[in-house]
Amino acid sequence: MSKLSIAVNGEDHLQGDPSSECSLVEYGDYQCPYCGEAYPVVKRIQKHFGKRLSFVFRNFPLSQMHPWAERAAEVAEFAGAHGKFWNMHDLLFENQEGLGDALFLKLAEMLELSPSQLESAIEEQTYRARVRADFAGGARSGVNGTPTFFINGERHNGPFDFDSLRKAIERKLKLYFPSISE
């Protein structure tokens, strides 16, 4: 059973309450079509479980396969350093077909971030170490493709359509809080 080797912590990009009863962690790649498919599913899952669920996104760019994945991850981290990680995360997935430098600069402008600062952050690889650290932690945790989800620290091995993820999360909620039943 593969488990998250790095617990959710203050360095993470997190939506929701970190002390909520269910933690969903995704290791993803902005250029991966399956992560693109999972993106709206996660939104639905978040809506469905509301305050009972927190969501963390960590980088796992498959750079050999996806030439823009690493840079897109750095772009999201750049936005994160300016308090706009989730805006950029969403925009990158919503514009997955057009990933590339032109799009990155356009998205930075849309979020009122400085395109020239973005360019120098890419040039100087300011966020490379952060992305590689996410990747190494994912490898150590048993990430076996993208996206890989961890529910309360355990790798989810099944499919990641809405119903499969919902059921997997419900099983975890009941396991930990047997008094709550539907």
Binding site: S2, K3, S5, L62, S63, Q64, M65, F135, A136, A139, R140, S141, G142, V143, N144, G145, T148, R155, N157
Partner: protein
């Protein structure tokens, strides 16, 4: 079904083609940790995922000084095309003739289907198996077990 070789067993020697004109022997790698990743076949989508994933994780294996070798019963020409298509940066060994002999010696052969198990072995610097794992054939095991085994190797 025979079980795969366990930790503490001396890793069976082998010499297999990794390109049409080059062979690789386990003994050449003595002094380095070796990761042997047996997998059922080139091109099948799950296998591709596992080898592509290890290709991405290669720098993490290299931090431990480890050498990764993928092994299946596919022939060298098939391996060559597969490795080129997926931009693999590690050797794929052809357990092709006699078919599956090396996999058999590791207890990692599925005689009924005639393919390798999805089995992982970490071999220490002295040629002894330090860790082994057989994954359900349809599940990509990831690399956490391999990395943990390397952390536990004597330095």
């Amino acid at each position: 079904m025979a079980d795969i070789l366990a930790a503490g067993t001396v890793a069976p020697a082998f010499s297999l083609h990794v390109t049409p004109d080059k062979t690789l022997s386990l003994s050449e790698l003595r002094g380095k940790p070796v990761i042997l990743a047996f997998y059922p076949a080139d091109w099948s989508p799950v296998c591709g995922d596992q080898m592509e994933l290890y290709n991405e994780i290669l720098p993490e294996f290299q931090k431990h000084g480890a050498e990764l070798i993928g092994v299946s019963v596919d022939g060298v020409w098939c391996h060559e095309a597969f490795a080129e298509d997926r931009h693999l940066h590690f050797p794929l060994a052809a357990d092709f003739e006699p078919k599956g002999q090396v996999a058999m010696s590791y207890g990692a052969y599925r005689a009924r289907e005639g393919v390798c198990e999805r089995a992982l072995f970490v071999i220490d610097r002295n040629g002894v198996i330090a860790w082994s794992y057989r994954s359900p054939i349809a599940i990509n095991p990831g690399a956490d077990g391999i990395l943990e085994a390397h952390e536990d190797l004597p330095k």
